[in-house]
């Protein structure tokens, strides 16, 4: 692999990662978010693979399949299971992947929205598979994402100055993913969407680790992966309890504890 091919592949993986992240904040249907999260995980796993082949580092080649299985398959699967089977559309998520048009959003607020074939957006909101009317509108979210991406490039300047390589030049994309993940986490109200935001944040951090330092030491990487898996399992169990106790998973409903 020439250094130019290497740089191109790495930039492509970073770009795909960022693109999927923007997709996650753009779409409001859980099914679409989960599929984007899986692609994001695959793009992330490509980074240690490309880097491992180019730099001939065995531990990166060893960790790449772990990242792929965990972040492109296991975690997206666990998240898709957080919505009860009754709320999943017949024929899988693809059938429900309509873009979040303004009409659909307005519909989300109306209680008498369901159609004859499958539950409508309002039912999806109740079941936890769709965001209710978001705190900030989709176009504002996209503008904020663009601003955060610019900020990420500005913040990464000392890092690129210290070690100007193809790896560190891709780092701003990873930092942007982190910021956009935080944005999704703070502006989403549905429990499942918050978890998607959290995983995006985590994917960004791991991407940054691979780009800056060829990954953290193996024991730390494995420990962190185990922690992440356990956190998602805990949160999934918690969502079930929440549904039993509150009849839904809208975080906005959690207001009993305050001063």
């Amino acid at each position: 692999m020439t250094s130019e091919t290497y740089a191109n592949l790495l930039h492509f993986a970073g770009g795909l990662l960022l693109l999927c992240t923007v997709g996650v904040v753009w779409r409001h249907q859980l099914g679409a978010s989960v599929r984007l999260l899986a692609v994001q995980g695959a793009a992330l796993a490509a980074i240690p693979l490309i880097s491992g082949i180019y730099h001939e580092k065995a531990h990166l080649l060893a960790i790449a399949p772990v990242v792929l299985v965990l972040r492109a398959a296991v975690l997206p699967y666990l998240i898709s299971r957080m919505v009860p089977p009754t709320a999943r559309p017949p024929g899988g998520w693809t059938a429900s992947a309509a873009p979040a048009t303004p009409a659909a959003q307005a519909d989300a607020g109306a209680p008498d929205g369901p159609t004859a074939t499958r539950p409508g957006p309002a039912a999806d909101v109740l079941a936890g598979s769709r965001e209710p009317v978001p705190l900030i509108s989709t176009s504002v979210t996209l503008l904020l994402s663009a601003a955060l991406t610019v900020l990420a490039y500005a913040l990464c300047r000392p890092i690129i100055a210290l070690d100007p390589t193809a790896d560190t030049r891709t780092a701003p994309a990873a930092l942007a993913v982190i910021f956009i993940g935080l944005l999704a986490l703070t502006t989403r109200r549905q429990a499942v969407s918050q978890v998607v935001g959290f995983l995006t944040l985590d994917n960004g951090i791991v991407a940054l680790a691979f780009l800056l330092t060829s990954g953290v030491p193996l024991v730390v990487e494995l420990g962190a992966s185990l922690d992440l898996l356990l956190v998602v399992l805990v949160v999934a169990a918690l969502t079930n309890r929440m549904r039993a106790a509150f009849g839904g998973t809208d975080i906005g409903e959690l207001q009993e504890l305050k001063e």
């Binding site: 000392p158 429990a191 951090i205 800056l212 024991v219 730390v220 420990g223 922690d227 918690l238």
Partner: protein, 498 residues
């Protein structure tokens, strides 16, 4: 001994026991369920951690020991924290026996949930021990995130809507905070690998000794970014403002013995990691950088705690905000950073842990008796149960920092340290806020202890339930009157950190 060396088999055992003993107890509870015998096995595991901490403290001197192929590392700071974990855990697991017994008797919980509780408490203790004894800052991170996972369902133990809400906020806020700390760890590793290029093998770039050695050569800009992220990340887990919002919910909803561990130990364990970062940051960036951050967060935390204590109507939340106040004070002490301030900080951690354990365990008995944590529902405790009321009052006097208890000595030490460091204005502000908190705590507690008793239930304590409370008060008293050899260890640890 001043350098890091490999531990002898006996000392290596003292470093492995704090991890292995709670794991064994967890396995035992898992196999046999939660009963009196497995409960006492958990107490034994906690006591073994305490003894191991004492052994390490007496042997480690001002150097450091490594064990388990350098995965574990113990210095005076790790030894003191192991003692804190062991001491508070002994009280908390002991108190759990009576607490869970009463919950089972009243039908508040099931045998299955009691078993889960027993397993998770022991796993929680093992992850905290790993967090203070790990050699690699990355492994420390893994362990601290592990504490969130282990405590999630302990906070949600009661399974009420309020408990579920508290658990959700706790897991999400702390996981995000700790994710920032991971980012900081990655950036620090990047700086360390860069600085160590050609010096040592980079595989250990996150080991404490390596970081301290390369600290003067770290790139300042990159290190600044890392330190801010680590401060915010571990600050979230230590309950520092502005990411403290989970704390009172989680600490008030958790079962009382778990609240004791979370308030008395877990916050301090997360804070200890910041002390490790401080050593590196001070060497790389000078003392001013992290000092500013700690002062800002510490004073903000004190403001939040003092304000929320004033209007508090719930005695468990009151205790939680008091922990917030003490974490703010620790941040100010760490900002001062002199040997005296650091030694006083560690004494403060131990004394606060013991006092808070007594108070939370007593509060647990009040909650069991009244089915509520509102002060208005539990007035006149002293008249209805002199023993429980007296123990609560003793814990309170210890917590308020009155002599002869150790928090008096530690607060004087922190004040002198801050004055020596030239932080007079910050010290003045902190003392004012501590005074507000003092007045609020006293007023609410007088209401709770001496208010009109009404027709509330009689508060009798069974001897087995009273025992850990009495021991806790006695230990606080002894610590205040006679620090003994512990004083030397605290001074040594203070020297390592200043």
């Amino acid at each position: 001994m001043t350098a890091t060396e490999s531990a002898s088999p006996a000392l290596a055992a003292a470093m492995i026991v704090p991890l292995a003993a709670p794991l064994a107890a967890a396995a035992l509870v898992g196999a046999a369920g939660w009963r009196r015998a497995t409960g006492y096995a958990s107490v034994l595991a906690a006591a073994a951690t305490l003894v191991s901490g004492a052994v390490l403290a007496s042997e480690v001197g001002d150097g450091a020991l490594t064990a388990a192929g350098p995965l574990l590392r113990a210095d005076a700071l790790a030894a003191v924290m192991t003692i804190v974990i062991g001491a508070v855990a002994t009280l908390a697991t002991w108190g759990s026996i009576g607490y869970l017994g009463a919950e089972l008797a009243h039908g508040h919980t099931t045998t299955a949930r009691a078993r889960t509780y027993g397993i998770l408490v022991n796993l929680f203790l093992a992850t905290m021990a790993l967090a203070v004894l790990a050699n690699n800052l990355g492994v420390v991170w893994v362990a601290i995130e592990g504490t969130t996972i282990a405590t999630a369902f302990l906070v949600g133990h009661r399974n009420t809507p309020a408990a579920i809400e508290a658990t959700w906020k706790y897991v999400i806020i702390c996981s995000v905070g700790i994710a920032l700390a991971f980012l900081g760890t990655v950036v620090l590793y990047f700086a360390s690998v860069d600085a160590a290029a050609g010096m040592t093998d980079t595989a250990s770039g996150l080991d404490i000794d390596t970081l301290v050695a390369v600290a003067p050569h770290l790139d300042p800009d990159v290190t600044r970014l890392a330190v801010v992220l680590l401060l915010l990340g571990y600050g979230t887990k230590a309950g520092l403002a502005p990411f403290h919002t989970w704390l009172a919910d989680a600490h008030s909803q958790a079962p009382a013995p778990v609240s004791a561990l979370m308030s008395g130990v877990l916050l301090a364990v997360a804070f200890t990691t910041l002390l490790r970062v401080k050593v590196v940051s001070d060497a790389a960036l000078g003392t001013g950088y992290l000092r500013t951050g700690l002062l800002v967060l510490g004073l903000a935390t004190l403001v939040v705690a003092a304000l929320l204590l004033v209007g508090q109507r719930d005695y468990k939340r009151m205790l939680a905000y008091s922990s917030l106040e003490h974490m703010g004070l620790l941040a100010v002490a760490a900002a001062a950073g002199t040997e005296l301030a650091m030694a006083a900080l560690l004494l403060h951690v131990l004394a606060h842990g013991l006092g808070k354990a007594v108070l939370f365990l007593s509060a647990g008995q009040l909650q069991l008796a009244h089915g509520s944590t509102a002060i208005a529902d539990a007035r006149g405790v002293l008249a209805r149960g002199p023993l429980l009321g007296g123990l609560f009052a003793a814990g309170l006097v210890a917590l308020l920092g009155l002599p002869p208890f150790a928090l008096f000595a530690s607060e004087v030490g922190i004040a002198r340290g801050a004055a020596d460091a030239g932080l007079a204005w910050a010290l003045g502000a902190a003392l004012l806020l501590v005074l507000v908190a003092f007045a609020a705590l006293t007023r609410h507690s007088v209401d709770l202890l001496l208010g009109p008793a009404g027709d509330g239930p009689r508060l009798a304590l069974r001897p087995a339930t009273a025992a850990p409370l009495v021991v806790g008060v006695a230990a606080s008293l002894v610590l205040g009157l006679y620090a003994g050899p512990l004083g030397d260890v605290l001074t040594t640890a203070g020297g390592l950190l200043s």
